[in-house]
Structures are given as structure tokens and as C-alpha cells.
């Protein structure tokens, strides 16, 4: 529906444009370009500023900043490794939980649920996305964290304790709790985007597949998901973007320790949580500069993920679709 409307209006616009030379098109085009340029300028400005303000720590700490996990403001020793590790691992946990779940949710809403139920659930998922992250953080700290320590973590420890990641004492705050909270925060975004993607699959494609005798499972797997793969991957990266930079909720539940532990129960930290905790009281210039460099690293990590996503998408679209 939406696609049709769009194309017809574009056609009428261009006809009118051809009819009389003068139109609002030119100024509008420049306006759009200016807005785009503003975004670019902001990004470049931010990047330049991050580099400029972190030169002190780059000069003093060098590459050691990336390979050391020691963080000692008193002695002026700073290492980003534990923060980088925490950011990547907590995001990975979040996506491992959230992506399969949101695909399933989206499929249920689009393919299986009765229409009325589907719209009700769809709205409630979108409402979830509107909850501010501090609420997730407080809820995680007061209710969900203790629940994890009392039930989930002992369970994992008992049955999967042979894995190093599930060893150690269960704790209400730590990497696993942070990852799960992040998953819950990411879920509404990814699943509502995936739902929209699956809704855009042309009914005629699905109907013809059914006509050929395909089962619901086969239609879902080979038609819907295949058709929407681009959007689904896009949704995953939207979730990744949200998880990787999430600050408040993570700060409350990750435990805030500058350490790398094999166990997911142990307290850890992320780049965003370190910044949230330490920026206000960073009292030496090297300290402040090290924190800015952490911000720069987060910026670069996001950029790398973005680039990888784009490349992969191009590959998938070219090679994946029948």
C-alpha cells in the first residue's frame, strides 16, 4: 500500500515540475542538502574534538591504553581494555538473547496471531520502547538483579557450571545482569522494526508459496525471512547501536569494576558506564583526556560495526535473494 502511494505521488510531482519551470524543488533540495551537511559537520566536528581532547592521553599512554586493563586514577595509570571488553561482551549477550526472540515475536505477530491480538501486542511493544533507560536501570538494580542472583544464576551455575563463564558466586549485579537488561531494552526496537519488515512482504509471494503446497514454516523460512533479510539485519544493527552506547541502565547493574573476569556473574564495566561514573570528578587533565579517548574508542567501534554491517548487507542482498 505505502509503496504504491509513494510512487504515484512522485510521478505527479515530476509531471508538474516539467509543466512549469519554476518550482519549490530547488530550494527544497538545498534545504535537504543543508540538513544532511549539518549531520556530517556534526559528526566530523565531534570526531575532531574527540581526537583533539584525547591527544594528551594518546601521547602519554600510547598503545598501552588499548592493551592494559589497569585503571588507577591515583597513580595516573589508565587502561581501556576492561571497558572495551565489557562493552563488547554485554552487547553480545544482549544481541544473543534479543535477536532470536524478536524474530520469533515478529513472526508471531505477523504470521500466526489473530489480527486483534497482533495489533494489541504490537502497540504494547512500541510502548515498551518509550520507557526511559533509567527506569530499566532502577528496576534492574532493585528487582531484576536480586532475582537473577537468587534464581537464574544459581540455576546456570548448577547445570552449566562446567563452563568458566558460569562459575563464581551469583551476584545481583554483573556482566550477565547488564546483558539481560540490555536485551530487554533492545527487544522492543528490534521486534517492532522486524514486524514492519515482515508486514511489507507482498501477500502475493506468500500466497503463491502456499499455493505450491508449502507449510507455514516453509513460507516463513524461505519467503518471509528471505524477502525481509535486509530489514531484519537493519533491525539487528539498530539494536546493536542502542545496546553498545547504553549508559544509565548499564551503570546501575554492571557492577562498575575495572576488571576482566571469565565469569559472567562478576562485576564489570563498559565504556559508557565508565564515562557516566567518572566524568564529573575527573580532576587531572590526563584523567579527563583518558576518558575522552574512551569516548573516541566507542565512536570508532560503532563506526566499524556500521561499516561491517553495510558490507555484509551488500553481500547478502546480492547473493542471498533468489
Amino acid at each position: 500500500m505505502a509503496v504504491k502511494l509513494d510512487s504515484s505521488s512522485r510521478v505527479s510531482m515530476s509531471n508538474r515540475d516539467r509543466a512549469n519551470k519554476w518550482s519549490a524543488n530547488k530550494p527544497f533540495k538545498y534545504l535537504c542538502a543543508a540538513c544532511c551537511a549539518l549531520v556530517l559537520a556534526l559528526m566530523v566536528g565531534l570526531f575532531v574534538k574527540l581526537i583533539a581532547n584525547s591527544t594528551l592521553s594518546m601521547r602519554k599512554l600510547g598503545l598501552g591504553f588499548l592493551t592494559s586493563a589497569e585503571w588507577d586514577p591515583v597513580m595516573g595509570k589508565f587502561g581501556a581494555l576492561s571497558s572495551i571488553y565489557g562493552t563488547l561482551v554485554s552487547t553480545a549477550i544482549a544481541l544473543i538473547i534479543a535477536v532470536p526472540m524478536s524474530i520469533v515475536i515478529a513472526l508471531f505477530l505477523v504470521e500466526l496471531a489473530p489480527k486483534r491480538l497482533s495489533s494489541f501486542f504490537g502497540t504494547s511493544i512500541e510502548l515498551l520502547a518509550a520507557i526511559p533507560s533509567i527506569i530499566y536501570g532502577m528496576w534492574g538494580l532493585f528487582i531484576f538483579g536480586p532475582f537473577m542472583a537468587e534464581y537464574i544464576e544459581p540455576f546456570l551455575h548448577r547445570y552449566f557450571g562446567f563452563l568458566p563463564i558460569f562459575q563464581g558466586t551469583p551476584m545481583p549485579v554483573g556482566m550477565l545482569t547488564a546483558g539481560v537488561i540490555l536485551a530487554l531494552m533492545v527487544l522492543p526496537f528490534t521486534s517492532s522494526v522486524m514486524r514492519d519488515v515482515l508486514l511489507m512482504v507482498p501477500p502475493v509471494l506468500k500466497e503463491s508459496a502456499y499455493g505450491l503446497g508449502a507449510t507455514t514454516w516453509e513460507v516463513t523460512k524461505d519467503v518471509s525471512i528471505r524477502y525481509g533479510i535486509r530489514g531484519i539485519v537493519g533491525a539487528v544493527f539498530l539494536g546493536l547501536g542502542r545496546a553498545i552506547g547504553e549508559t544509565m541502565a548499564v551503570t546501575f547493574v554492571i557492577g562498575n569494576e575495572h576488571k576482566i573476569s571469565a565469569s559472567l556473574f562478576a562485576p564489570a564495566n563498559s565504556i559508557a558506564s565508565t564515562l557516566a561514573n567518572e566524568f564529573t570528578e575527573a580532576d587531572t587533565s590526563l584523567y579527563l583526556s583518558a576518558l575522552v579517548e574512551l569516548g573516541l574508542i566507542l565512536f570508532l567501534i560503532t563506526a566499524i560495526f556500521q561499516a561491517v554491517a553495510q558490507t555484509w548487507l551488500r553481500y547478502v542482498v546480492r547473493g542471498g535473494r533468489p
Binding site: 581532547n53 589497569e70 585503571w71 588507577d72 586514577p73 591515583v74 597513580m75 595509570k77 538494580l141 532493585f142 538483579g145 536480586p146 542472583a149 558466586t169 551476584m171 545481583p172 549485579v173 554483573g174 551503570t251 546501575f252 557492577g255 562498575n256 569494576e257 575495572h258 562485576p267 564495566n269 558506564s273 557516566a276 561514573n277 567518572e278 564529573t280 570528578e281 575527573a282 580532576d283
Partner: protein, 359 residues
Amino acid sequence: MKAKLARAFIILIAFATVLTAIGCGRQPVRPPSERKGVVINGAGATFPYPIYAKWANRYYELTGVRINYQSIGSGGGVQQIKAGTVDFGASDAPLTAKELDQFGLIQFPMVMGGVVPVVNIKGIKAGDLRLSPETLAGIYLGKITKWNDPALKRDNPGLSLPAKSITVVHRADGSGTTWIFTNYLDKISKEWHTRVGFGKAVNWPVGIGGKGNEGVSAYVQRVDGAIGYVEYAYALQNRMSHAKLKNKSGNYVDPSAASFQAAAAGADWKNAPGYYVVLTDQPGKDSWPITGASYIIIHKKQNNLTKAKAMLGFFDWSYRHGGEMAKALNYVPMPKSVVDLVEMRWKQELKANGKAIWP
């Protein structure tokens, strides 16, 4: 850096405008009523925020002088006063005399309070647990890991302690509370001094970090076997179980306004350059060992006489009439001898256009 300069520039312009408006500040002493409408901006420590806010509110009702205090943290307060973007900064950690001179600043203690170790052990009530300095340091160094450790048993004969693991909780954000707490550990433990040191944020040997007093207290209240440290007022409001501490004179004391005051009584404010006095581990049989003062930092050279007078007027009023309000919020007001000393210093050192501001 540039942002700071820009901010300083804007403030400068604002100052200049105000100065021109009132005739370059060469005005006769104005009675308090004429200060009505003056706005003073301050920023810094979160620890004294409740009492500063209360004083400011009452002072506004009395005089019409508005004090805006933003509790952005001690570090932020120090940076902002150095950059000149606020009229006064506030910090729980005093600046050294050298740093003060470098930026032409003066600091003075405004109010005092204490930091209290809080525990959550099933069956142990507030004040039941006693901790000697060695034991507290041992716990925070990660050497004492069980509540039934011999060291704890030695401190607490007759108290049955469980064989539970100790979960150490500390502040994750940089904070004046941490500065005071680690300063104490630094003084009483050689190993802490060499391994960790003290500061608003340190490299903690063990434990989990909570954001703010509320983060620490949430962890302590939810983990059985946890120990943490919070500001006294916070421990009281949340009915947390504090531990008794052994002070320098060898007595186990409870935290209270009286024991904070006892710790402050012996302090030699007079001979401390820049009032760099740290009230941890003070002598005296009733002294609470982890006591600290919160400081106000202002520029020695003020640009605006009216504003400077209004600001000092507020501090003076708070010193002399704000004591009861402070006590009601579990802070300890500065003793009169210290107030007189501070105001003497104002008289000698604070100038606006070469003229003394106070009184």
C-alpha cells in the same frame, strides 16, 4: 579548552554588563535590602547539597538574595571555579595551598559530616559489629574474605558471626565521600598507602561499585554479607546497620553529630595553610575516625562588590544562624572559633577593585 574559554568569555561579558550597570562597583556599602535580586551561582560537592539548598532557600526568604547551587560533584565544582564560570565552588576534598595560590583562590570549611561503614549481615543489628582499623583495611584490601575471620572475631568477642563471604561495595563514581574514606584507610594502613593511596576515585583491590550513595546502599541492602560506606545522613535515612569503629585513642565509637564534633574539636585550623585540614583519624576518646569537612572555594579577587558582599553575607549568615538547620539534617556546623578565624581571613585577603570586601 576552547569551550572553557568561550564560557569564561560569556561570563566576562555578563560581568562587564553588570559592572557598567552599577557604576564599576564603586558603590558605598549597601544595606542588605538593596542586594535584593542579586543572584549568586555556585556548583560542586553533592554531599553538602541538602543543607546548602536549605540555607539558600531560607536566605532568599529573608533577604531576597538568590543562591543557585548545583550539585555536580566536587571535581566539577573545582573546575568551574578555576574557569570562573561560577561565583563559588564547593568541594569535599580540600585543594592544596599550592593549587589555591596558582589560581588565586581561597577556601574555607563550611560544614562537617561523617562517613559511616554499613553492613548487611543476617542477625547483626546496627552498632553490633565493631571494626578495628586493621580489620576494615583488611576487608577493603581483599585479605579478609569471610565474616568469621579470626580478625573479626578478635574485634567482636561474644558476637556470633556467620561463615559468609564478604561482599565489598564502594562508590563507582568519583566522589568526596570516597576521598574521605580512602584518606582514612591510607592513614591507618601501610599496605593501603603503598598499594592504593587515596583520591576521589581509586583502583579498588576488591568489590563492586555502586553509583552514588543510593547505589552503594542498594547493593548493601540487597546482598547478604555486604559492607559499604555512605554518608552518615544517608545511613540514617535508610536505616542501615552501621558498624562501630575503633578510633585513634582505642575506643569503639558510634557515628553521631557529637562524635563528628569531637573529631573536629582537636583540628588545628589556625596553622593549616589554606585550611588544608583533614579530619580523618583525629585524636580524642570520642572522635569518629572518618570525619570530613566540606569546603567553599572562591576567588580572592572579586569583580563585583555587591555580589561578593551578598555572597559572603550568605556564608556568614549560614555560619551564625544555620547551625540548627544543619543539625536537623545530620550535618555538623563549624565551631565559632573556626568561623571567626575564617572571617578574619576574608577581611585580610578578599578584595574587589583593591578594596576589602568584608565586613
